[in-house]
């Protein structure tokens, strides 16, 4: 991906609102990859994800005049996407009950600690130490193989963890933005993120150890 354009969203949104097609195209180029990736988590196929992204942009075009900038453009855009993707996901019998999330515990059947308890003694000390990854060549973790391992680990996460880690660590949204896009509490957001990151870490650890 090319480096982020210096033109900020707000300026592009205002230009698009006044009919500047180039500004709209820049927004589409800037955000569609993220939207696609996010949509793909709610619907079962790439084709459906593309449909959802397309619908989202059409909704953006129609809603541009009403967008008042109370939230960031990104938050607004992602909320539209998530709403549409959820609707479509339900239709495709693949809904994700984000709205029904109550406390920190989740329905992913996964409420245990994020580091294998066997790694600790009864006093809480580590029995097998996490390796110092600095001893490994940095190159190993920057390799395409490490990316593949991380990508696979994310793909295997429970849906809500997958969505949170994708928004936070791949798309670079802040915790506040993620909470707003997904209607999560701060605690919930953090628990989901932590579980997701811990599993990716574990996958990388297993890979390095092998």
């Amino acid at each position: 991906m090319p480096p982020r354009s210096p033109v900020d969203d707000q300026e592009l949104v205002e230009r698009a609102r006044s009919g500047d097609e180039e500004a709209f195209a820049l927004l589409v180029t800037r955000y569609s990859p993220m939207l696609l990736r996010l949509a793909r988590m709610y619907v079962p196929t790439d084709a459906l994800a593309e449909d959802v992204v397309q619908e989202t942009w059409v909704a953006v075009v129609r809603g541009l005049e009403r967008f008042e900038g109370r939230s960031s453009f990104k938050t607004w855009l992602f909320r539209i996407l998530v709403n549409r993707a959820k609707t479509r996901g339900v239709r495709e019998h693949r809904s994700i009950p984000f709205a029904s999330v109550g406390g920190g515990a989740d329905e992913d059947g996964d409420e245990g600690p994020t580091v294998d308890p066997a790694r600790f003694t009864s006093e809480g000390a580590w029995t097998s130490a996490p390796a110092d990854w600095h001893d490994d060549p940095e190159a190993a973790l920057d390799s395409a193989e490490a990316l593949r391992i991380a990508r696979e680990a994310i793909a295997e996460l429970p849906e809500r963890q997958k969505i949170v880690i994708t928004l936070r660590d791949l798309e670079g949204l802040s915790s506040d933005e993620v909470r707003n896009v997904l209607d999560l509490t701060e605690t919930n957001q953090r628990v989901l993120l932590h579980r997701a990151r811990a599993k990716v870490r574990e996958a990388l650890e297993d890979w390095i150890a092998s």
Partner: protein, 72 residues
Amino acid sequence: MELVTAYLDDGLDASDRARFEVHIGACEHCSAYLEQMRVTLRVVGHIDPDELEPEVERELLAAFREWKAGGR
């Protein structure tokens, strides 16, 4: 270890943060874990997004033009 994400997010209050840092500073295993989490985030951040099909992008621009021409 469940505090690591809160710590990396600046989500701990001053006293918890101080206690966390004292422990991490004293425990090489926990500090290795924290470092692994940082490296994990860096690896994840390097995963490239997929691109939108050019034809979809063209359709969107056509939709934009229609909207513009529609007198809004």
